[in-house]
């Protein structure tokens, strides 16, 4: 299947993918890429690799801030909702309890904090990881499909400011790559 030529006529190079046979090898390669100072790159693996985020130099996830904000929002809305419904809008005494007892609002405050926190976690995850994404260049390269089976890859994008084709290929081979593939846009 011929790939569509871009405006300049040449097939556009999106990045280079280096193949590794096991998690340890790809972790060491990731450390090398991290130390070389690349910023637009990723590791593809069939399963989560312990310690890969450290090897890649990834910053801690920002999802927890979304969760904290969501939980706080949930807590606030529960207090306002309970106060409005029980204390202002529909005053009815149940079981001799005060209209605005904090005790009876506590389960609602707890549940809404959890609910809003959970929803914020999912939204925050989508916002920070860029999903949903309907197309990605690595999906087009047949060799990379083994990333969901038994192979491990480091992919460096050509958009990386430090990218130069020969240098990246040499660096990846030096890091122990079994094979280096071109990934088209």
């Amino acid at each position: 299947m011929a790939s569509a030529p871009d405006q300049t006529g040449a097939a556009a190079l999106w990045g280079l993918a280096a193949e590794f046979s096991d998690p340890a090898a790809v972790s060491h390669a990731a450390e090398a890429v991290r130390d070389a100072g690349y910023t637009r790159w990723d590791v593809l693996a069939p399963f989560p690799i312990h310690g890969i985020d450290k090897a890649m130099g990834l910053k801690p996830s920002r999802v927890s801030f979304f969760v904290g904000f969501g939980a706080f929002l949930g807590l606030t809305s529960a207090i306002l909702m309970q106060g409005w419904m029980g204390g202002i809008d529909y005053k009815i005494i149940v079981g001799g309890k005060p209209l605005l007892a904090w005790e009876q609002s506590m389960p609602i405050m707890f549940e809404l904090s959890i609910l809003f926190g959970g929803i914020a976690a999912i939204l925050g995850m989508f916002l920070t990881n860029g999903l949903p994404m309907w197309y990605h260049p690595v999906l087009k390269t047949p060799a990379l499909s083994r990333a969901s089976d038994d192979k491990f890859f480091v992919v460096i994008e050509s958009a990386d400011p430090k990218f130069d084709r020969a240098g990246v290929e040499a660096m990846l081979r030096g890091a122990g790559a079994l094979n280096v593939e071109e990934v088209e846009r």
């Binding site: 312990h50 985020d53 079981g95 001799g96 005790e103």
Partner: protein, 421 residues
């Protein structure tokens, strides 16, 4: 493999896993002497005052006795859970839980102290409804014609009470000695089957532990007011003890690390996981305590609500607000950020804080049973005395042997432990 061998050599170097000879000797002797002195002051203060002062002294002492009993009990539960789930990450930390567990005789002596002190006080002061009993159902003048006592008498008899206490003591001493012996024998002979035996014993020991601690809480705290009952009281005692024993053990580990011991054995990764446990059980304690209060508040059954009405009046109402804030909200906020859970200074301070809050929690449950009384100087003396004795015994225990299980088969796994989250 060679990597973990190098780790193990570094970790098990004598100056890393032993304290120096006679370390902490003057400290534990001092703590023990001051603690015993304060206990003596409590007893004298009770005897020389009136019946109400005696009752105050007795309840303050009993608060500390439950505290001192609960911390080794919680540690025994943790040791059994770690064995049962075959935990690898904690192998280097388990000895400190075992050291805390080894203080079981101190706790048992403290509880027997409550029995003896009550027996002495009721003989010194005149009999009658106001006699300084800890457990009022033992007072014939108090239960005379009480329909609730008539309904509950088969459970509330002296034979059942003391018989069960003996049974709990026997089970706890048996389990804790056996677990301790497996671990220390392995230090000497390196037989890895000791680990398997400890694991098998834990399978039997955990249900026994669950039932005995729950019933001990019913017997020794809940029946202080025998009209009252709460079905989740056993869980409340368990949750409090877990916070207490985790804070104690974590404090020991943090201090040992600051004395230049346990390099590689107690890393930031282990600290992080211990902080998570402490955080988790702080939240669990809050969940249980609130649920217990909430269900009784909602149901409004007179014999249940009386318990909380007494504790939300006068000075006790300050504690009713202060304990949830200090025992839950403050540690919840301070132990929530990941970087703080990995700082020994922050976590160490939180341990000290939580140990104080844990004592206040028990104080709020036990001490208001002296009806119509406010705070008294004997409260401070009575609560602090036995706790200092426990602290002294702990210092002595920690200094007495190796600080890690030297030949545990899972040591390698613990040394390389990391957190992914």
């Amino acid at each position: 493999m060679s990597h973990s061998h190098a780790h193990a050599d570094l970790a098990l170097a004598p100056d890393n896993v032993y304290l120096s000879d006679n370390a902490g000797r003057s400290l534990w002797m001092g703590l023990g002497a001051v603690g015993l002195g304060l206990v003596a002051v409590t007893v004298l203060g009770g005897i020389t005052g009136d019946a109400k002062t005696a009752s105050i002294a007795l309840h303050a002492y009993h608060t500390a006795a439950m505290y001192v009993m609960g911390i080794p009990l919680g540690a025994m539960g943790v040791v059994m859970i770690l064995h049962q789930v075959n935990a690898g990450w904690s192998a280097t930390l388990r000895r400190q839980f075992e050291n805390v567990m080894r203080l079981m005789p101190v706790g048992i002596a403290a509880i027997i102290g409550s029995f003896v002190l009550q027996a002495v006080f009721v003989r010194v002061f005149p009999a009658g409804e106001k006699a300084p009993y800890l457990w009022n159902w033992m007072n014939p003048a108090y239960i005379d014609g009480d329909p609730l006592y008539a309904a509950k008498w088969p459970y509330l008899t002296l034979w059942r009470f003391y018989g069960c206490a003996l049974l709990y003591f026997a089970i706890w001493m048996g389990l804790s000695s056996a677990l301790w012996n497996y671990s220390t024998r392995q230090d000497a002979d390196g037989d890895r089957w000791h680990t398997a035996r400890a694991r098998k014993l834990s399978a039997v020991g955990l249900p026994l532990f669950a039932f005995t601690t729950a019933f001990a809480a019913f017997d020794w705290v809940m029946t202080l007011d025998f009209h009252w009952f709460s079905t989740m009281f056993g869980v409340w005692y368990f949750a409090g003890n877990m916070v207490g024993c985790l804070a104690t053990t974590l404090l020991v580990l943090v201090l040992l690390r600051s004395f230049g011991r346990l390099h590689v054995c107690f890393t930031d990764e282990h600290l992080h996981d211990m902080s998570k446990l402490l955080f988790g059980f702080t939240v669990f304690w809050a969940y249980i305590s609130f649920s217990q209060y909430f269900l009784i508040w909602y149901a409004m059954i007179p014999e249940e609500t009386l318990f909380f009405i007494v504790r939300r009046e006068g000075v006790w109402n300050y504690l009713a607000w202060g304990v949830p804030i200090g025992h839950f909200i403050v540690p919840f906020i301070l132990l929530l950020p990941r970087p703080w859970r990995r700082k020994r200074g922050v976590v160490g301070l939180m341990c000290v804080w939580l140990l104080a809050m844990h004592a206040l929690d028990y104080f709020w449950f036990i001490r208001p049973e002296v009806k119509g009384s406010g705070l008294h100087w004997l409260d401070a003396v009575g609560v602090v005395g036995p706790i200092l004795v426990l602290a002294g015994a702990l210092v002595r225990q920690v200094a007495s042997g190796p600080l890690v299980p030297l030949k545990d088969p899972r040591l390698g796994e613990a040394l390389g432990h990391t957190n992914t989250i």
